[in-house]
């Protein structure tokens, strides 16, 4: 088979590579994404009852904070890599 029957090519003027010649997602900032991915997997860090926060055991409040960390880091990486993609 040489042709993809599914394919439908949009008009070329709408499709751009933001920086011609530099077709890549690579950026050192992307490494920061590892923090919110790896931290929640390190159970021994947070599998504890104290210190409590507003009555929440550490196990609960600390893990809920991971969601905000994910938002912050992902947003930061987005802003830092904006020009490229």
């Amino acid at each position: 088979m040489t042709q993809v029957p599914h394919s439908q090519e949009p008009p070329p003027d709408l499709l751009t590579s933001a920086r011609p010649g530099r077709k890549s997602d690579h950026s050192p900032w992307n490494w920061l994404l590892l923090i919110p991915i790896v931290l929640p997997l390190l159970v021994p860090i947070y599998n504890r009852w104290t210190p409590k926060l507003f009555g929440f055991p550490f196990f609960f409040w600390f893990q809920i904070m991971f969601t905000l960390l994910a938002a912050a880091v992902t947003a930061f990486v987005f802003v830092k890599t904006k020009q490229r993609s």
């Binding site: 599914h6 949009p10 751009t16 077709k23 994404l33 991915i37 504890r48 938002a71 993609s85």
Partner: protein, 532 residues
């Protein structure tokens, strides 16, 4: 039956139904095509996408089942938190590549991509079938979420579900993805309102967080081992393999992929991924309703099958804590929360059928209009199927199948996610790895008993390594074990097939296709015309 609650739910349902039918006029296009019906022309911008993908991923079942898990099993049930925290940073870079290659080639499903990348309709078929099989019980579970609410209101029998699904099927048929997209605004407004109030009011009624968590701790000190208020040495690995496996799995589900490719450009995908953890934060709060239910001494109600249904714990908590007016609003939130994902899922499953089975094997020259019609009809059949699942077969079967669904959808990871980065893997080895992963998923799931309900098989997703003769109490998520076997077969098989010089098929994608983008301007609508 609580008339006030029922009235509020019925009015809210009627309102979103009108919205659903009206939605076909939203961002209207003259095209009759799959691009329009299933993807709304790939035109959703940042804020809309945040509502749409959030509405798509956080299901009614999540709202009732995650707290129910914490209520029943303690700390292990909180795995949903690390799962929803890591999923977006995890797929942030992966999904923009998927967006670009789909945009370039007009792919509608993950299986479309696999077909183009590896030149193998057979591998694409395996991916498509996996997607459909994993999605069907997921739709059924949204029905169970609705059923839990109806039970709590005091309505018995399945007739409201049948009516709700008939209306849902009708407006999805006419409006396509625009219907759940539009309704997701209502859904999310209700979620933020209800949760925002409940998270302060219920703890206030129950005597404060300190008291709530002490009651939770005391409760699990009195239960048999296996459930505990913190993780134990035996279930820590299960906790993180469940979280990691689920985080990869969610963006392999057809409805998640459909959600991602309805967006306008890469920046929208990235911006949405950065903002979606807000939903995860809210899910974390929702999970805590399970803890509150323990402190409030809430008991599960008897479901239509005659057994206690732990999914009723959250609705029952609302019932006890709030007056009928606010409880009605909370129930409307759960019901509408079921409609949006169910619509997305049925559209996504229908697309898999249309693109990778119908067009591939039944009518190769199906026009764009014909593909749209096929998907519309199949989306109806998918919903009927899910309804029959619940009505005719023990609901427990849907629950089991959905647990298995998470593990089997993960078996498409090497073809789809690794495939986005490298063409090194051989299509034959990918197919063999997929088959091995499927077998391991089913086999490990079969071997796992459920201690709480005294069921010997199909009892859970934590596979005890002692089955393999290892002297340890540790368990791992079945999907995680299966995908490791899958990867081993895929990589080993590739080395073998390459050495034997077996034909690798044609790669229809080019390196640059993975970085395609569309300008972020307001000006003309993306004029992607149906060419096929």
């Amino acid at each position: 039956m609580n008339v006030t609650e029922f009235t509020i739910v019925a009015v809210a349902f009627a309102a979103v139904s009108v919205l659903g039918f009206w939605a076909h006029r939203w961002r209207r296009s003259s095209d009759v095509s799959l691009e329009q019906w299933a993807l709304a022309g790939r035109g959703f911008r940042s804020w809309i996408s945040w509502f749409v993908i959030g509405g798509d991923l956080y299901t009614a079942y999540t709202y009732v089942a995650v707290p129910a898990l914490l209520f029943g099993a303690g700390a292990i049930g909180f795995y949903a938190l690390p799962y929803v925290a890591i999923e977006y940073p995890l797929v942030f870079l992966i999904m923009i590549r998927f967006w670009s290659v789909s945009k370039t080639h007009g792919y509608v499903t993950a299986a479309d991509f696999v077909r183009g990348r590896f030149g193998s309709p057979t591998l694409a078929l395996a991916i498509a079938i996996t997607g459909i099989v994993a999605t069907m019980p997921y739709i059924a579970l949204n029905l169970l979420g609705m059923q839990a609410v109806l039970t709590t209101i005091g309505i018995h029998g399945y007739w409201p579900l049948v009516i709700a699904f008939a209306v849902l099927a009708a407006f999805t048929f006419t409006s396509g993805v625009r219907a759940p997209a539009m309704i997701s605004f209502v859904k999310d407004a209700l979620v933020y309102l209800v949760i925002g109030v409940a998270i302060f009011y219920i703890p206030h009624r129950l005597g404060g967080w300190n008291h709530i968590f002490n009651a939770y701790d005391a409760h699990f000190k009195a239960t048999p081992p296996g459930t505990a208020s913190l993780l134990t040495s035996a279930n820590q690995l299960q906790y993180i393999t469940l979280a990691l496996g689920s985080a990869f799995a969610i963006f392999l589900y057809p409805h998640a992929i459909t959600g991602v490719i309805t967006t306008r450009n890469r920046a929208v995908v990235k911006r949405t991924m950065a903002a979606l953890p807000i939903y995860s934060f809210v899910l974390g709060l929702i999970a805590l309703f399970g803890v509150m239910a323990i402190a409030g001494n809430i008991k599960p109600l008897i479901g239509p099958t005659g057994k206690p249904d732990t999914n009723t714990v959250v609705p029952n908590l609302f019932q006890h804590m709030f007056g009928s007016g606010f409880a009605g609003l909370a129930f409307a939130m759960i019901i509408i929360g079921a409609l949006v994902p169910a619509a997305f899922m049925s559209i996504a499953a229908a697309n898999l059928f249309t693109r990778n089975i119908y067009k591939e094997y039944i009518r190769r020259d199906a026009t764009d209009r014909e593909q749209a019609t096929t998907s519309k009809v199949v989306s109806l059949l998918v919903k009927v199927g899910a309804l029959l699942f619940i009505l005719l077969i023990n609901p427990q079967f849907s629950i089991d199948l959905q647990l298995l669904g998470g593990a089997i959808i993960l078996q498409t990871l090497p073809s789809v996610m690794i495939g986005l980065y490298t063409r090194w893997l051989h299509r034959g080895a990918l197919l063999a790895g997929w088959a091995a992963g499927m077998i391991v998923s089913i086999w490990t799931f079969y071997l796992t008993p459920n201690v709480a309900t005294h069921v010997a098989h199909w009892g859970g997703t934590g596979f005890a390594l002692s089955h393999l003769g290892l002297h340890t109490g540790t368990a791992l998520y079945i999907g995680f074990i299966a995908v490791l076997v899958n990867l081993a077969v895929a990589f080993g098989g590739t080395a073998l097939l390459k050495a034997l010089k077996v034909a690798e098929g044609t790669d229809h994608t080019a390196a640059g296709d993975y970085f395609t983008d569309v300008a972020d301007t307001r000006a003309p609508e993306p004029a992607v015309t149906a060419g096929a």
